[in-house]
């Protein structure tokens, strides 16, 4: 019960309010910080890890959005992440169309697919939904494994990208220093967009549907399409992460579609705190670095992560983000306000 009271402290900003001026300053500050970071941090290793962490953060944001806005827990978001990768890689491998087109498709196709799937599966509640997404994700994974002639099977393959994309040298997407800025901007823009979205009617209505689908219907709302849209939006964000990942690594493999990746994304989202918009992204970054550090320290990193997961979730059930917010509120009882 106590959690409910706490979580209400984290609940969304007042309804309908226009974004306050401070949110714009936060946006500007976040963008500037991202642009400056590569200037300050000179270690390529650190930047490349940061880049990958931020991409992980975007994927976690996708999963977190679905939990937060629709109450749906996806075990299959790797599907959208990986599909984006294959949408870039396969046309290049088989010489179908220019990479510029592929990149657009890589984001658009998983989104559309998710919307159509969503129309069918968002009706299915609870754990069954998770298992369905898992099944769908695994179906793609399985396909990528088996359609060896098309996809290269479990070994995956390197993506041959042209020298320039949209007139920008491809190099930009593969140098950690520049890719970090791109990924960071993407993350900030996504978070900000979602922040605005939760204040719209769409955001509020989907929250209501999440809370009580039946009553929403009896208030005159069609409840399937909005949830399918949230699912699609979440897939879109996952696909953006996948696109960035594929461009950066210039390599795809069925692992990008595997449920263990979906699982990691879910872990990141929850560790970060799904009540907060930026919680999952934070969780993504923290988890990435923690895993990296643990792997560096000991061969027993899985146990270390396992123990940490247990301790963190028992101690901070609202996630790192939730804990931070509470800390801030305690320090500044008057002004503790959070991003919706």
């Amino acid at each position: 019960m106590s959690r409910q009271a706490e979580s209400s402290a984290l609940a969304a900003a007042p309804p309908g309010a226009a974004p306050a001026r401070w949110t714009w300053s936060v946006l500007a500050a976040a963008l500037a910080a991202g642009a400056l970071l590569p200037q300050v941090v000179t270690s390529t290793l650190a930047i490349t890890l940061l880049t990958q962490a931020v991409i992980g953060g975007i994927l976690a944001t996708a999963v977190g959005l679905l939990i937060r806005q629709a109450g749906l827990v996806s075990f299959g978001h790797a599907a959208f992440f990986g599909l984006a990768g294959y949408f870039i890689a396969l046309p290049a491998r088989h010489g179908l169309w220019p990479a510029e087109v592929s990149i657009v498709l890589a984001v658009a196709a998983p989104t559309l697919l998710a919307f159509l799937l969503g129309l069918v599966i968002v009706r299915i509640p609870g754990v069954a939904f998770s298992m369905l997404t898992l099944a769908i994700g695994q179906a793609f994974h399985e396909f990528a494994l088996r359609a060896r002639e098309i996809t290269g099977g479990e070994d995956g393959f390197a993506i041959s990208l042209p020298r320039a994309l949209y007139g920008v040298p491809t190099e930009i997407f593969q140098r950690p220093q520049s890719m970090f800025v791109i990924a960071w901007v993407a993350l900030v823009v996504i978070l900000f967009g979602l922040h605005l979205l939760t204040r719209t009617r769409f955001g509020r209505v989907t929250a209501a549907i999440r809370e009580n689908e039946e009553r929403a219907r009896f208030l005159g709302y069609q409840t399937v399409v909005p949830r399918a849209l949230v699912f699609a939006l979440s897939a879109l964000i996952g696909a953006v992460a996948g696109t960035l990942f594929a461009l950066y690594n210039a390599f795809v493999s069925p692992e990008m579609l595997h449920w263990s990746l979906s699982g990691s994304a879910l872990i990141m989202a929850i560790v970060g705190g799904t009540k907060l918009l930026w919680g999952p992204a934070l969780g993504g970054v923290v988890f990435f670095f923690f895993k990296d550090l643990a792997g560096d320290l000991t061969e027993h990193w899985p146990a270390m992560i396992g123990l940490t997961l247990i301790v963190v979730t028992v101690a901070l059930p609202l996630g790192i983000g939730g804990a931070l917010v509470r800390l801030l509120q305690r320090l500044r009882p008057a002004g503790g306000r959070t991003h919706g």
Binding site: S2, Q4, E6
Partner: protein, 232 residues
């Protein structure tokens, strides 16, 4: 007369919020006590407190005179206190019969058994093998009451038991509760239907904003006071 349930300076609430501010009350064997008060004053929280659902922040809760260190959900039942919860709380995937049997999970010796409950609410017998939640609202209320009776409690706590019951059934309920009390069962009744309260209870506590603002014999309750507490 020994005390079955006692509150001493109880403060309790949910999360950080405090709802009860220093409640003292006692229900003894054979006693028929009512808690009166408007919506939201904390009547159900009194129940939730001794059930360990709301958090006890200060003070003391006693069952049969024994102070309770930690209030588990099941402590009350084991002390012979059965509760009809507000909102019924019928267990969905169990049949009517199973819901009733569950009420006998901890059971004191006594007269109430399946037969007795079926006698009291014949419709439950008719529908004994349907899922409890397939009953109509009022039928579920009967089930909730029957389930509490199955324990043969020393103290029966009812949180708005008349809700959703047809008037004739409320009449019957009044008779049953009187009969119970005559048989030695203590009663703690939280009720908005003053007709029922009047027929059942002999003593009352009036609650307002989490505090007991008045108490006494029901017979002595003046109309003015009644208006004030229950806002008739």
């Amino acid at each position: 007369m020994s005390e079955l349930l006692g509150f001493r300076a109880v403060e309790a609430g949910y999360g950080e919020a405090r709802v009860l501010h220093g409640i003292d009350l006692a229900v003894g064997e054979n006693e028929r006590v009512a808690i009166l008060g408007r919506n939201g004053v904390g009547k159900s929280t009194v129940v939730n407190t001794f059930l360990g659902v709301a958090r006890l922040r200060a003070g003391e809760v006693r069952f049969r005179g024994a102070p309770q260190r930690s209030l588990q959900h099941f402590t009350a039942a084991r002390a012979g206190v059965a509760v009809v919860l507000q909102g019924r709380h019928i267990i969905p995937n169990l049949t009517v019969r199973e819901n009733l049997l569950l009420g006998a999970a901890v059971r004191r010796p006594g007269a109430w058994n399946l037969e007795g409950v079926f006698e009291l609410f014949p419709v439950l017998r008719e529908r004994a093998d349907t899922p409890g939640t397939a009953l109509s609202g009022g039928q579920q209320q009967m089930l909730a009451i029957g389930r509490a009776l199955m324990a043969n409690p020393a103290l029966l706590v009812l949180d708005e038991p008349s809700e959703g019951l047809a008037p004739v059934i409320v009449d019957e309920l009044a008779v049953v509760l009187r009969r119970l009390a005559d048989g030695g069962t203590g009663l703690l009744l939280i009720e908005q239907n003053f007709g029922l309260v009047r027929r059942v209870a002999e003593r009352y506590y009036a609650l307002s904003k989490g505090q007991i603002v008045d108490q006494g014999r029901l017979a002595d309750l003046s109309l003015a006071k009644l208006k004030e507490h229950v806002a008739v």
